[in-house]
């Protein structure tokens, strides 16, 4: 058996024939030394009133890895991202980011961890009373000691990277949806975070713009070597960017693997995400 077949064999052993994995079993990404994992989510549970959104979430993400989360709308994918960054707190479980348990951190320590995390919100979340320049300068002025010249150079650099150098003095209301996403991505990247969380980065965009955003995410990953979690329904984005994918159903991850592995899954729910695709 050549090396490639051995690798495929190893991958298949971690995933049952029906595409499901034991949520509590070690996955291929596990390591005996958990300190290798940048993000380590252990037995997280979250409810809103009587609605249990997350039942038992376990996920380990290595440095530089990109994990895409698939799932139906309203099943808690974005809740996981918000728990990682401390916008929401789980009812049970641990969320370890660089070894620090997010729910147990005080405000100051949480702010220090947040400096390492970038979060791209679904709508971009640009500050609509500020120009694009002011939006991009905002995190630099708050988090760094850069002088005006350095800030100006940094702003121009990230705008060049996202392909919008001429938008610098526009207001967010003058931007299209795709432009807002790009500027939102630029604002997130300007502080060079080590972890990037993307909440449905291509939702609401036309296919061409979605492809551009996906390409931008891929280039960002290659350039900055960030650890990323992407919540998306966009399978093209998932195929392009994912090192690994997890499928969320009924508050638990029911499947995990690469795009190609999950595409071959026998699980009906997992298969439903790949129906009609021409990859």
């Amino acid at each position: 058996m050549d090396n490639k077949d051995e690798n495929i064999k190893d991958n298949k052993e971690d995933i049952k024939p029906d595409g499901k994995v034991d949520n509590k079993a070690d996955t291929k990404a596990d390591s005996k030394d958990s300190k290798n994992f940048v993000i380590n989510i252990e037995h997280v549970k979250k409810s809103f009133g009587s609605n249990t959104v997350l039942k038992d979430i376990n996920l380990k993400i290595k440095e530089g890895e990109t994990v895409v989360t698939l799932g139906k709308s309203g099943t808690g994918k974005s809740v996981i991202l918000q728990c990682i960054v401390g916008l929401l707190y789980p009812d049970e479980g641990k969320i370890l980011v660089y070894g620090e348990n997010i729910p147990e951190l005080d405000k100051e320590d949480l702010q220090e961890i947040r400096k390492k995390i970038g979060f791209l919100f679904q709508s971009g979340a640009l500050y609509d009373s500020m120009t694009v320049r002011q939006n991009l300068e905002f995190p630099l002025r708050k988090l760094t000691d850069f002088n005006d010249a350095e800030i100006n150079n940094k702003v121009k650099e990230v705008l060049q990277n996202v392909g919008l150098p001429n938008a610098i003095d526009k207001m967010p209301s003058e931007l299209s949806g795709g432009m807002k996403k790009r500027i939102g991505l630029a604002r997130t990247l300007i502080t060079e975070p080590k972890i990037m969380l993307y909440d449905e980065p291509t939702t609401g965009l036309d296919p061409a713009t979605s492809r551009e955003i996906s390409q931008l995410i891929l280039e960002t990953q290659k350039k900055y070597k960030v650890t990323s979690i992407i919540v998306t329904h966009d399978m093209e984005c998932a195929k392009l960017t994912a090192d690994r994918m997890v499928v969320l159903k009924d508050g638990e991850y029911i499947a995990e693997g690469t795009f190609d592995e999950l595409q071959k899954s026998d699980d009906e729910f997992v298969k439903s995400f790949f129906e009609g695709l021409n990859f």
């Binding site: 916008l87 919100f121 009373s129």
Partner: protein, 171 residues
């Protein structure tokens, strides 16, 4: 009589109620809109304290501007009184304002000025609270603006009542 009424009650309360409407609704709607569009979350995630950046600044601004507006309004009211008086009588401005300042005492000015700071504080705080805590959805932005006005107006009247009672006791 005019000067005492304007400086003690009419000026502060009327301006307080106008500011409750204009500033309270503006702050409530702005922060509510920021909440709905996740701008406050974005600020929080970028390791900025949105409470300090958004709330403290607005409350402080309200506390400083309401007293200044009251002074401005009182001045205009007294000038208006002078103009009205000259329709039926002939009085020089110098005499008019001399009479005005003779009638006003420290006990009229100080409580009336201090309570305007509290009006500003209440207006800013209510607007920020309603906007910051509004739920998701555009309808909630309107509710936040509306309820800011109602609650701020009520607090202005309540604070005025308390100020009058305290002024009577202390002065």
């Amino acid at each position: 009589m005019l000067s005492i009424a304007v400086i003690r009650e009419i000026g502060p309360v009327i301006i307080g109620l106008i500011c409750a409407g204009k500033m309270g609704s503006g702050i409530g709607a702005e922060l509510g809109s920021m909440k709905v569009t996740e701008q406050i979350d974005a600020m929080e995630v970028s390791a900025t304290n949105p409470f300090k950046y958004l709330v403290i600044t607005r409350v402080t601004a309200a506390m400083l501007t309401v007293p200044l507006l009251v002074i401005y309004a009182d001045t205009l009211a007294l000038i208006g009184g002078y103009i009205a008086m000259n329709f039926s009588a002939d009085m020089s401005m110098k005499l008019f304002f001399s009479e005005v300042f003779t009638a006003i005492t420290f006990e009229d000015l100080l409580p009336a000025t201090i309570k305007t700071f509290f009006f500003g504080f209440a207006i800013g705080l209510v607007g920020c609270y309603k906007g910051y805590n509004c739920s998701r959805g555009t309808e909630s932005v309107g509710i936040a603006a509306n309820s800011s006005v109602v609650l701020a107006s009520l607090l202005v009247i309540l604070l005025d009542l308390i100020a009058v009672q305290l002024g009577t006791i202390l002065f």
